[in-house]
Symmetry: C2
Subunit: 600 residues, 2 copies
């Protein structure tokens, strides 16, 4: 049977040949783990994803949540799937053994999780959001909050949300209007409206814990005046039982073009003045708490984009192998049999392009997950800090590059299926619709690009950028051992060198205060930077493929050769195409910035 979620051979390649997951078992935190426990967890994830998540992916899309009597109603298949996910422990895959977790490295919890993302993006969102909310309380909540709200989340009885966006404040969080008034008893009364709150209502759990950004009466203006509150759907009594319904009203559901199985809600907090909230951590520090959790969330979003791309790639690959149509250009004799469309050069191009985008960003996503483990478990604080800097730098890429290019991969999957691909009788059009969300939520592409160029590349004197450049150079150096990789290595070296020059020049301009001009083309910068990073990850994979080939396992020959071909595609077809964008960046071209409203 062909694999539909992801290639398990490719996952094993990533974990054990590229990212050396086994080395993590040398660290104290993961000492009880082994390749066997890793593979067992992956096997369980695959099985649940295939058997309980994938089968209702289309049904989720065709039967979006309904707003009935003030509540959201889902199709019945969602709860058993999520329950199985919980029972198997994936909600707490990375959490301590003592806290009921599996204490897996994030690399492995992500490797498990991506099976669910591929099988059913919408259903997977409910536990994903809960994990994010739980992590926030774990990191910044007090003991009572952990007892009252976190523990039931860990137990799978309460789910969670992230409630940031308001009707007039999406990307611009500094303009939030939701208010929190002290009630005199240590709690707060929340008042405001939030929109696009995913998982904001559903019947999957006893309670829903909203992590709400709001402003205290004495809040300074802007992002430094945002505080974080726990606002449960139902109040929780001291003994842990559910109390009365909190003043949080489901005002309505949004109807999306894709990702339809996940409720996207409008929530009114405090319409009756009785919405109880609990301050998390210190006043006015809410946004910094959110951002400290962002790396993990954004890896998750990026991985979600990858996995939708992956699902489409595998489906279109299988289709191309099965579907006879036409003949090669030099063999038009209509009395001969039609060939499978995978024989057509342009179909191969569309498959190879998908492979390059999907497997390149899959590698990057897992690399980032492993880096997250480094931030937690490397031996010294200095090493951990250094890992965190690199992860901070890479996060906008991990989130945004797959959101853009794996959406393109989905577009190609539809094209391979032709007219069939355009119908809802086949799954690829849904992947495309689902994936269109990813460049928007958790920080748009534009916001990520400002974060990268305006903040990340220069932070701490460019320390993270220097780290990255060294890693890429080191990779190129190792590639020199393989003469066959020269044609792949050189374009990367060339791009890295020019990108470094252009970056210095741009940072110089930023230092001179030319902020608007310099950041104007930041989206191009993100694209080029992303190509450099994915190019690096492909060269790394190519080195591992050469090493694998050298071992001479005949069974893996095709796999490694395919890796080398995809690396060749990305490094020789895609990477060099960035030089024109670099020229625009280098020239500080103001074509877009200078365009005026009245001229449109």
């Amino acid at each position: 049977m062909s694999e539909t979620l992801l290639s398990s051979r490719n996952l094993a390649f990533e974990l054990y040949e590229v990212l050396d997951a086994e080395a993590l078992t040398q660290r104290e935190r993961f000492a009880e783990h082994s390749r066997e426990t890793f593979d067992a967890a992956i096997g369980t994830a695959r099985s649940i994803a295939e058997n309980l998540f994938a089968p209702h992916c289309r049904k989720n899309d065709e039967n979006e949540p309904q707003f009935v009597d003030g509540a959201a109603v889902l199709i019945p298949e969602v709860k058993p799937a999520v329950d199985a996910f919980l029972e198997a422990g994936f909600l707490n895959a990375s959490r301590d053994f003592e806290a009921g977790g599996m204490q897996l490295p994030t690399l492995l919890s992500q490797a498990c999780f991506c099976h669910f993302q591929s099988a059913n993006a919408a259903t997977t969102s409910y536990p994903f959001l809960t994990m994010g909310a739980a992590n926030l309380i774990e990191s910044f909540g007090n003991e009572e909050q952990k007892q009252r709200f976190l523990q039931p989340m860990i137990d799978g009885r309460f789910f969670g949300t992230m409630a940031l966006t308001e009707p007039h404040a999406g990307s611009s969080l500094s303009d939030l209007r939701t208010r929190a008034e002290p009630a005199g008893d240590g709690t707060y009364r929340i008042k405001g409206n939030k929109i696009f709150i995913s998982g904001g209502d559903h019947p999957l759990s006893e309670n829903i814990v909203h992590m709400v950004l709001a402003k205290l009466p004495d809040a300074p203006p802007g992002v430094k005046g945002i505080s974080l509150f726990i606002v449960p759907k139902f109040l929780v009594n001291d003994d842990g039982s559910l109390g009365k319904r909190n003043d949080v009203i489901l005002a309505g559901l949004f109807h999306k073009m894709g990702w339809r199985g996940t409720t996207s809600t409008a929530l009114n907090f405090g319409d009756n003045g009785e919405c109880v909230g609990y301050l998390v951590g210190k006043p006015h520090a809410g946004l910094s708490y959110m951002f400290q959790m962002m790396n993990e969330a954004r890896i998750g979003v990026g991985m979600g984009a990858v996995m939708l791309g992956y699902a489409g790639y595998l489906y279109s690959l299988e289709y191309a192998r099965q579907r006879p149509q036409g003949r090669l250009p030099d063999g038009k004799d209509p009395t001969t049999a039609q060939v499978a469309i995978i024989e057509h050069a342009d179909v191969r191009r569309m498959l190879l392009t998908q492979k390059a985008y999907v497997e390149g960003s899959f590698d990057l996503g897992l690399y980032a997950a492993r880096l997250f483990d480094d931030t937690q478990t490397l031996a010294t604080e200095e090493e951990r800090k250094s890992a965190l800097e690199l992860l901070d730098l890479l996060t906008p890429i991990v989130k945004s590059w797959p959101s853009d290019y794996c959406l393109k991969a989905n577009e190609l999957a539809i094209q391979i299926l032709g007219g069939h691909g355009y119908t809802r009788e086949y799954p690829v059009e849904q992947y495309y619709r689902d994936n269109r969300l990813n460049p928007i939520h958790e920080g748009t592409y534009g916001i990520q690009s400002l974060d990268l160029l305006g903040r990340k590349v220069s932070m701490n004197g460019g320390a993270a950028l220097k780290q990255l450049v060294k890693l890429v150079q080191d990779c190129c150096q190792r590639a020199e051992a393989h003469e066959s990789l020269t044609a792949l290595r050189e374009p990367l070296e060339h791009l890295l060198s020019r990108l470094s020059t252009v970056t210095l020049s741009l940072l110089g301009d930023l230092m001179k205060g030319k902020v608007n001009d310099t950041l104007a083309n930041s989206a191009l910068y993100l694209k080029v930077f992303g190509h450099m990073v994915i190019g690096w990850r492909w060269l790394e994979q190519a080195i591992r493929a050469e090493e694998g080939l050298a071992k001479g396992d005949a069974q893996d020959h095709d796999f490694y050769t395919g890796k080398l071909q995809a690396a060749r595609y990305f490094l020789t077809w895609e990477v060099p195409s960035m030089h024109h964008d670099l020229a625009i960046l280098e020239a500080k071209d103001d074509t877009c910035l200078a365009m005026q409203d009245a001229w449109f």
Copy 2:
């Protein structure tokens, strides 16, 4: 009120400043027309499109046709809209006065038609398909067929379809299996199954005339054995009244990701052995007939892609002007008011990119329509033949480039609206879904690229290519009169020169019989060729804008300046990015071709 279908200033610019529509009134066929009659027709089209087509565009999408008792049921708004279209004469806009038409130039009928395409792609499909079917009968049918089938189509009583695709034969028409047996009485009995037949059933007309490709018993194999048949839903008596139901069964409806208001049908012909068909023209010549009608149909499809892009561009432009969000990078003071998002450089980039793609391909589509007029009304046969050659060459670009880039425009429109753009509460996501069909139907992108490189550029000794090169060179020469255009002209000259060299090299390889290798990267070739063509059309627009500016009409200053800025964007940001693709083509790079099935 802001315009939502297209910019009428831009349409006037195209018609009267770029394409000199008034000059057509010097030709005998159009002598009774004038700018006034042209503008009156456009005004009528705009009014009907705004008042009867646009209002049910979303409803069409949300209530796709239902299969009820063997027939397709549409929402009630479709018929009044189509009726108004018919009553205003747009079905026969280009047809002779004597035949009940308006005898408008195709340039003008297309300029009218595009309003409907922008307002409601799905509803517009019904008359569009009818026009194509009617043109086929008009060109190749006999007098009796014209009397019996064409006249009621002209009268708006019968509608039409194009029935080509079969379950196992989409792009590869040579593998059609539908059969036509002579019945002995001059008619034929048709047997076979067709899929993806748009407009294959609906309640909008008394009868539906299917133009069906099928094979006669003595058909030679392949495309040279395909014949064209008229197969009506209801037989037509000698007196023109409807006879009994023909043996054409609606087997089912396809459910598409977009363009949902148009029925996409599976039709069974002759399940009961009683499907009557009428041979059009000569046996085995059916595909050539189809292809002779292709230019007009493909201009229509390309224009459809443009107009979905146009609608999304205008909507996102208006949204960007209204939506306050955030502040400029150098003015983060949260106590100041938020700016409209059109002030953000990256939003301007996304708007300017849309403008460049949409208005560039809008110009090309109208240019092609005018060229079609030249093929019909230029003075000498030689001139007409020459115009037809150029149109043949440009057709794959006219069809495919907008299908690709105006889809990207729609993607950007969603991005500008952010989370709102992803919901079905706003129209841009529907445009994106609707437009995804265009790179697939009427010949996929890949098929068009093979047509361009494998056939069109070399036909008649490259005569059409030489014509095109001369036109572009001439445009560049005229641009030299404007020093301000130097930076725009040079990238086009550079691209044209290199594309010419690469083309010669590729054609040389084709001559040597290296067919598979040379055509392997044809999709890249189409992209580069398309950029050259659109770059040319932008330079042409830039020249006209400079001329307009020189006239000094203050009211138009912003309009012309915007044209120049969009031209600058396309010619300096987009055109030079093609050189890497040219390098791949020049190197006859076999990365994709060499990829093997087993390596994926």
